[in-house]
């Protein structure tokens, strides 16, 4: 029998239920987590109980840290999942590690999670700010988009996104003509777009996220920039495309860790998800399912829910499900899997609801993430 602490494996979904990221994570991840648990029970028939609780961290690091502590101390939570936004992820990872519990990060994207700030009880599952530009920038340069100009959200996340992308652009033979930094959050981007236009660059890289990206795209079209120069969204989710509409986004390149309409397996799962949420899943939500399922398998395999043992099993077993093929959890906590380069369809090409992407390329896992050799994580033995 599995030796489980406090009689149950308890999962806490700590996510943004109402704020900026509630569409790409939020209630959807809670549902995905529950689906993973149900599927696991149905398929693997575990001999331990599994419980799920959830809370809104309101994108605040202190609320997250407080909630995590409380969950560990009083609710006997074993593992916290999702953790959208980097500040909350970092805060919870630290607490979890101190208490010898596991964090499965699907929502947050900053690379420090598996680099400078890495620890041995965290797995970073779905994407990061390295993997996204890699695919997009390479592909766009290959298509002839050699000259780039960046519109960057003026904070750490935007800066690192810009930096990572610039490197890839130059490495692939492109050129960066300049960049402009906009306040975060912003609402009017026309000035910055005008600067980008004046630069004469072929590609305007949007090193920002959420509403900022959406507004940039919308206004680029309004100012007659988009057909002449093309945009590259460096962090875009299908929920963003959905709310902007194909009219405004058609032709854009973006990188994603998951697309619902990719193959039969993804379609089958996504349809089930759609039935519950009335929306197609984002990569965060799909990735979260995958991470939870893998974790539960590892608990079963390890015969215990003790963090270190489970982590060892998670690293040992490959990830094979609709989300990832032969995915692997590395020493630094990175789950390496393939990413996809997508191009947004023209409205005329879209045949049915949520038919948004052409998948143009599969980016192999080893290319998509920072090579272990370059990792700054102390856990990586060199």
């Amino acid at each position: 029998a599995t030796n489980v602490s406090d009689g149950a494996v308890k999962l806490g979904v700590l996510t943004d239920m109402s704020g900026t990221y509630s569409d790409l994570a939020g209630p959807g991840t809670v549902e995905a987590t529950k689906m993973a648990v149900e599927d696991f029970i149905a398929k693997e028939k575990p001999d331990f109980k599994i419980e799920v609780i959830s809370a809104d961290h309101q994108n605040k690091a202190d609320i997250s840290a407080n909630k995590a502590r409380e969950w560990f101390d009083t609710q006997k939570v074993d593992t916290i999942v999702d953790l959208v936004t980097t500040s909350t992820a970092l805060a919870v990872m630290k607490v979890a590690n101190e208490k010898n519990r596991i964090s499965l990060v699907s929502g947050a994207g900053s690379t420090p999670i598996t680099n400078e700030q890495c620890n041995d009880t965290t797995v970073h599952w779905t994407y990061d700010t390295y993997s996204l530009p890699v695919g997009t920038a390479k592909a766009v340069v290959k298509q002839g988009g050699k000259n780039w100009y960046f519109i960057t959200a003026d904070y750490a996340f935007g800066h690192s996104l810009e930096k990572n992308t610039s490197e890839v652009v130059t490495k692939s033979g492109g050129k960066v003509l300049g960049s402009v930094r906009h306040p975060f959050p912003g609402s009017d981007f026309s000035s910055f777009l005008l600067s980008a236009q004046a630069s004469g660059a072929q590609v305007i890289g949007l090193a920002n996220a959420g509403a900022d990206t959406i507004n940039s795209i919308k206004q680029a079209k309004e100012f007659g920039i988009t057909p002449k120069q093309s945009l590259a969204g460096l962090l875009m989710f299908i929920s963003d495309v959905h709310s902007l509409g194909l009219e405004a986004t058609a032709g854009m390149y973006l990188t994603t860790g998951f697309y619902w309409d990719y193959n039969d397996e993804t379609r089958a799962w996504s349809k089930r998800y759609f039935e519950k949420m009335k929306r197609m899943p984002t990569m965060v939500q799909a990735g979260n399912y995958s991470s939870v399922y893998h974790y539960l398998k590892a608990v079963k395999a390890a015969g215990t829910d003790e963090a270190k043992a489970v982590m060892a099993k998670m690293r040992e077993m490959p990830v094979n499900d609709f989300f990832a093929k032969n995915g692997k959890v590395r020493a630094d906590g990175r789950m390496v899997h393939d990413m996809y380069l997508a191009q947004v369809k023209k409205p005329s090409e879209s045949k049915y609801p949520w038919d948004y992407y052409h998948i143009r390329e599969v980016i192999k896992g080893e290319d998509a993430f920072i090579p272990l050799a370059e990792s700054k994580c102390p856990l990586v033995k060199k």
Binding site: S22, D154, H182, P183, D188, S243, E247
Partner: protein, 294 residues
Amino acid sequence: MDIFGIPIQALMGQLLIGLINGSFYAILSLGLAIIFGLLNIINFAHGALYMMGAFCAWIGLNWLGLNYWVALIAVPVVVGAFGMLIERTMLKHLYKLDHLYGLLLTFGLALIIEGLFRYRFGISGESYPVPELLAGGFNLGFMFLPKYRAWVIAVSLVVCFGSWFIIERTKLGSYLRAGTENPQLLQAFGINVPLMITLTYGFGVALAAFAGVLAAPVLQVNPVMGSNLIIVVFAVVVIGGMGSIMGSIVTGLGLGLIEGLTKVFYPEASAVVIFVIMGIVLLLRPAGLFGRER
């Protein structure tokens, strides 16, 4: 020709864009100033009502099939009526109290409105198309000016100066100003002050909603669009001199321009420049540029 290394053409473009943003500041701060003038309340819900205006336009289009032009008239009326309802049911009870309570109440209302829209529409928001009549743009040589933006400038100037004229130059305006100071006595002169207050609040709110409809085609319509903007607008109002109608219009437009210039020369500072200006203005003229010392 260059100015500080920036081609004059680009500069012109940026100034024009600054003016467009300034138009939004002007309409919003005008509404705040009018409300503040008569009710002595800082309408913290102004941003939320602006957001509501944008959403109502979207709802009108997508649920009821009402086009932009209908929305431009109907939405301010509807949201204005909602404002009047708020005034009648809640604000009304606060006039005898310290004016700070009005600020607090509208702050609470802003949270409620924003929360409800978040609940219903999610956070990433919806897109509103540019009306066909105003699609496309003019090539001005130095820049491509979308027709829609030109329309925004024109219509907001008309609305702003129209409101100014009514308030400063007509009898109705003198009632408004008198009501600001001593509503009780004004009522004793035979003027229906409660109605006037309700209508004024409704009008201020309608202005916010009007700005919302104007903004819908250019910005993503989302539940936080108002709260991001409102603090800047507060700063505009403080710089202009609170309650000063002309102050809010001129400062709104002026700060739009200054912000536009900052975006060219030092984009990192564009979010703070207004607050820095505010600090300086307050040091030199505590009552604001157009404000009266009280």
